[in-house]
């Protein structure tokens, strides 16, 4: 993307005001999307964004500037701005930087790059979804579907001599349906995604996604209000990964721990969860939505065990905070685009499979709520209190799944809920989402086997 000798000169210029560390992050991102609504392919959109973010660290301060101009002059101008922002006076040092290209290990190959697929073929996926969703019944009044792909080439060069590049391809396909019945209108959504080429559709045919969304909306027409108060919760495989993302993932991000804004601060080596709980964040999980070869600071993605059999083993780290602590980065430094500073972010966060047959978990629950799909959540890391929305759920009565329930929020406290997990199934699935933190969104996934939480507060309206 940029010649190594140019990068060396730009990094040297960035260090001119006395910075300890300088970095060039360049990005060339190509996105394309198409949207179907109301039976029509409404619009194709394509976009391109190229630019570089340059940061200079001096002591505890970071200066940052970015530019859409990747010429040497444009990069030098941004480097000077970042250096000036980092400098609180002084400076004048002369630094030289020599870069060594680092080879990158990929977890899987992209078979069919989406930019080699014609727009008509992409539109075809949308039309197939529309037909399949509407075939689920006349109650389906509206169908919308979105196809989106992105190809993100990144380059990271820093004053430690690192030079590394990555090429990240992602596809997401989502369908939402509105069903109308005597009880009113209901909507439902399904949206798989992966770090994968157009072969995505071999794994997730548009019809499958459409049928799931349509059936979910139709089921909701017969739903009754969800319980209000504390109930046992069984999370179907995949459905509840977002709970671990919220309940403990964010609290294990080293930047929040460093700000004293995490309930998990100072608890390394302690029992923080039920012995049934192991939590892993794995940026090398092949084809998953949150996967990459290198993070946005040029560090290789890793499989990091955060909690092992209930014991807190480590936090997630980006390069800057890791350097300050004299330890390696865990490969969790990410940013939305070159226009943002990186920070500690999750990749694919999951609880690995356990030993119990999921059917036994349900039959062993006299009364509770069985959650099949969650609609996202959020956490206050300082208190550990978190919520997530339940968008498909059923009552469990006498060990059997019975009536569908309307949408409601589940609320809990991370450290407390982790100790209340009393059954973990031997199945597994993941769920893709966009994680937002400090105004930056990045693709992440979360996963888990079917499991039970002894009690959580469900925010329904039923007595």
């Amino acid at each position: 993307m940029i010649d190594a000798s140019v990068l060396e000169r730009v990094l040297a210029a960035a260090l001119r005001t006395g910075g300890d560390f300088a970095e060039v992050f360049a990005e060339d991102r190509l996105v394309s999307s198409a949207q179907l609504d109301d039976g029509k392919v409404e619009e194709f959109t394509s976009g391109r964004e190229r630019g570089a973010g340059i940061r200079v660290i001096r002591g505890a301060s970071t200066g940052f500037a970015h530019t859409a101009d990747l010429s040497e002059a444009g990069l030098r101008e941004a480097a000077a701005a970042a250096a000036a922002a980092a400098a609180e006076g002084g400076g004048g040092a002369t630094m030289t930087v020599g870069l060594t290209r680092r080879s990158v290990v990929r977890t899987h190959d992209i078979v069919t790059f989406p930019d080699t697929i014609g727009k008509r073929d992409k539109a075809e996926m949308l039309l197939r979804a529309d037909v399949a969703a509407r075939a689920e019944g006349s109650a389906i009044e509206q169908v919308s579907a979105v196809y989106a792909d992105s190809r993100r080439k990144i380059l990271v060069a820093n004053s430690d001599g690192l030079l590394a590049e990555d090429d990240q391809v992602r596809i997401r396909f989502s369908v939402s349906c509105v069903a109308v019945g005597d009880s009113g209108r209901q909507s439902a959504f399904e949206g798989p995604g992966g770090t994968i080429g157009f072969e995505f559709f071999d794994r997730y045919p548009p019809e499958d996604t459409a049928r799931l969304a349509a059936r979910r909306a139709i089921t909701l027409l017969d739903a009754r209000p969800a319980p209000s108060g504390e109930v046992p919760i069984v999370l179907e495989r995949g459905a509840g990964g977002v709970m671990f993302h919220e309940a403990c993932g964010h609290g294990l991000e080293a930047d929040l721990v460093g700000r004293d804004a995490s309930v998990f601060k100072g608890r390394l080596g302690q029992q923080v969860a039920s012995p049934l709980v192991t939590i892993i964040d794995d940026g090398t999980f092949a084809e998953e939505w949150g996967t990459y070869a290198i993070d946005d600071e040029g560090q290789p993605a890793q499989r990091n065990v955060l909690i092992e059999n209930g014991i807190l083993t480590d936090y997630m780290w980006d390069l800057v905070r890791a350097r300050r602590e004299g330890r390696p980065s865990s490969g969790n430094g990410r940013r939305q685009t070159y226009q943002y500073l990186p920070m500690v972010r999750m990749t694919n966060t999951y609880l690995p499979r356990g030993e119990t047959d999921p059917a036994d978990i349900i039959s062993d629950t006299p009364y509770g709520v069985y959650c099949v799909q969650l609609g996202g959540g959020s956490v206050d890391t300082a208190s550990g209190d978190f919520v997530f929305g339940v968008t498909e759920a059923y009552l469990i009565e006498d060990g059997k799944i019975t009536a569908p329930l309307r949408q409601a929020q589940l609320i809990g406290n991370g450290p407390e809920v982790l100790t209340l997990i009393d059954a973990v199934g031997n199945d597994f699935a993941t769920w893709p989402g966009t994680c937002g933190k400090d105004g930056q969104g990045v693709p992440v996934s979360s996963g888990q086997p079917t499991l039970r939480i002894a009690r959580m507060t469900m925010g329904g309206t039923a007595a």
């Binding site: 619009e43 301060s61 727009k119 996202g376 309307r406 409601a408 309206t461």
Partner: protein, 455 residues
């Protein structure tokens, strides 16, 4: 270097539109901004980011089919490539007779906004040093106000100066510019395993509008008053929403009153035009011509002048928000309500400045009226537990119980639930309006009954 620098944005957009071919409608939106962000922590500068952002979004319509393309650059060659890409994209849509760009007729049939002054030149003269000093002062004040505050999670200053222009091949041209400045702080209090946090902020059009002292006081007050909060037993009870929560809640109603959602059946208000949806005292308008509103704007995202649009009048559903497409398709005409999420997306529909007609009761009076009630200071999960199609509403809540008209014990880890339809029918609007960032005006709200879920 970008050739856009120094060139008037409207001229740049017009140059692109001049390439429209016979039978094509072309719209170009160009934007250029300059932004500063300062974060401090522990009495030191954590980061300073100074950046210019520019980009173009181009819409091409051929035979009722729309294509869109964008680029994060105003470089002339890049913009022309973007036009070609948008043109190509238009070849793959399904034709729709209502798709089209805003015409001059649609523009002149509405009232133009006079005197909206959203730009402050003086912001560009404020030094980075002064901005850093303000952020440091904010952190220092927040730490010094109350001994129970044990830390500041974040203290930030941010500003932006944004200029944009929209030109289309049907003869419409509009340019707008705005400045904003804000500072915010999150404070933490509590000992041992209990940590409570809350934020305070100050926002305005320029640096001198900011009041870091007020931001610090708000954060500290909101943090310490929830210390010791507990889960309470489930109950049905009245709820008072803080003006900040009101802004978020109105955002949901605004989304449900979006003409696109109405036409496509994706709203709880679809098919309910003219029906009663609220009590007699409930009147909701979207008014981007109101200069005090943060979302004020002279033009919408298709270049149509904005106007005051009544949505609910005396409890009756009287109108929806429309852009050119939904206005034509519904027969209502555009209400100047096109919005876009920057240059990376084509215009959709949305509210900019929702305002509930204020009532006569102050917050203190509402608290006296309510009896035993829950005051909700902040909500969580607004986008995961609510649904504007079904109307289901269930969110996490932090706040305080109200007894005998005053705040009693703090409450945490509970949810409150109802439906958006029921809330509107059971709503008393307070008197004290607060002009807050976002697309709505904040005011205290009393809801007669909601389901609180706790222990």
């Amino acid at each position: 270097m970008s050739v856009g620098v120094g060139v008037d944005l409207e001229v740049l957009a017009a140059r692109v539109v001049a390439n429209a071919r016979p039978g094509e409608e072309v719209e170009t939106y160009v934007v250029r901004s300059r932004e500063t962000e300062v974060k401090v922590f522990g009495g030191h500068v954590e980061s300073v980011s100074v950046a210019g952002v520019e980009g173009a979004g181009i819409r091409v319509i051929i035979g009722g089919c729309q294509g869109y393309a964008w680029a994060g650059s105003l470089d002339a060659d890049v913009v022309l490539e973007t036009l070609a890409e948008a043109r190509d994209n238009a070849g793959f849509g399904t034709p729709d007779e209502h798709i089209g760009l805003a015409t001059r007729d649609e523009m002149t049939s509405s009232s133009a906004v006079e005197g909206l002054d959203l730009w402050r030149d003086d912001l560009s003269a404020v030094t980075t040093e002064a901005k850093v000093a303000l952020a440091l002062e904010l952190e220092r004040r927040a730490l010094g106000l109350d001994p129970r505050v044990r830390g500041v999670e974040s203290a930030e200053y941010g500003d932006s100066m944004v200029e944009s222009a929209i030109v289309n091949s049907l003869g419409l041209a509009a340019a707008a510019r705005r400045t904003t400045a804000s500072c915010s702080v999150v404070t933490m209090a509590g000992e041992g395993s209990e940590t409570r946090s809350a934020y305070g902020f100050s926002a305005g059009r320029t640096f001198d509008d900011l009041d870091p002292e007020q931001a610090a006081r708000d954060a500290v007050e909101r943090t310490v008053r929830i210390l010791g909060g507990r889960k309470v037993p489930s109950a049905k009870l009245p709820v008072i929403f803080d003006p900040l929560v009101c802004v978020s809640l109105l955002g949901l109603y605004g989304a449900a009153l979006n003409g696109e959602g109405i036409l496509k059946g994706r709203s709880m208000f679809a098919g309910r035009d003219g029906e009663r949806v609220g009590g007699d005292a409930i009147t909701l308008v979207d008014d981007p011509t109101e200069p005090r509103a943060f979302g004020a704007s002279p033009f919408d995202s298709e270049g149509i002048p904005t106007r005051r649009t009544p949505l609910i009048v005396d409890g009756m559903l009287r109108g929806f928000l429309h852009n050119v497409y939904t206005g034509r398709r519904s027969g209502s005409g555009t209400t100047g309500s096109a919005v876009r999420g920057g240059f990376k997306s084509a215009p959709g529909v949305g509210a900019r400045a929702l305002r509930l007609a204020p009532g006569s009761r102050t917050l203190d009076e509402l608290m006296s009226d309510a009896g035993e009630a829950l005051y909700v200071q902040s909500v969580s999960g607004l986008h995961s537990g609510t649904n504007i199609v079904s109307g289901d509403f269930s969110v996490g809540a932090v706040g305080l119980m109200i007894r005998d008209g005053v705040f009693a014990e703090p409450v945490r880890e509970v949810t409150i639930a109802s439906t958006l339809q029921r809330i509107l029918l059971d709503l008393t609007v307070g008197a004290d309006e607060v002009w807050l960032p976002g697309s709505a005006v904040g005011v205290p709200l009393l809801v007669g009954e909601m389901a609180l879920s706790g222990s």
